[in-house]
Subunit: 125 residues, 2 copies
């Protein structure tokens, strides 16, 4: 339902979250927020027009699941290869996960059709 | 533990989340990210120096619980009264909650001592 609705937007952000870490709700929310803010900052550097357009559209975003550290890093490499802004979040490990654990990845804001091609197969968190 | 660690930072952001809505992990994460981005944008308008300092410190943030719509609105009023940047998130209601539901509130980035005074009693999400 949300994926369908987001289909109407020209720009979107996707945040991929590792489910194998079994982070609690608050921890996961903070990591996702961190990825979202950092990806937006990166978009401002790479494609200011994408960042502005996305904010004007109401900053549509979805969280999706990935199963491992390796999946997250691979997804990041693909996104960078396509020229998309990304932010890979490394946790300081002060709470629920070991230091330097990669927890999630923000991709975009970027044109929806490019983001959909690379993340459309991932399940919603 | 994280509250203790965040005590070392000069600036922080707090995102208060309604627990009575029983949002799922993905939904809650997206709402928190929305609040965080919007509160940062508001801080850029009100106190650009707070926003910049917070980003430079690694954007420390925590998510805390509130029990109702009314608690969230009251907290927002208090924060605005203190001159803090805030962002109250109203959900479009396309998925888990009815349209125009207030789901969470971002406060800050702002000086930690001001934020702590008004949110220090709230439990971590």
């Amino acid at each position: 339902m949300i994926a369908l609705t987001l289909g109407a937007f020209r720009y979107k952000m996707v945040i991929a979250v590792r489910t194998d870490l079994e982070m609690g709700k608050g921890k996961a929310a903070i990591e996702v927020a961190h990825a979202a803010i950092s990806a937006l900052e990166e978009a401002r550097r790479l494609h200011h027009d994408w960042a502005d357009a996305w904010l004007n559209e109401g900053q549509p975003k979805i969280a999706v699941k990935v199963g491992s550290d390796n999946d997250l890093v691979t997804l990041n490499d693909e996104a960078i290869h396509l020229g998309l802004p990304t932010a890979l979040v490394r946790d300081k490990g002060l709470t629920q996960v070991p230091p330097d654990t990669v927890t999630c990845l923000g991709i975009g804001p970027a044109p929806a059709e490019i983001i959909d091609k690379m993340t459309g197969h991932l399940k919603l968190l």
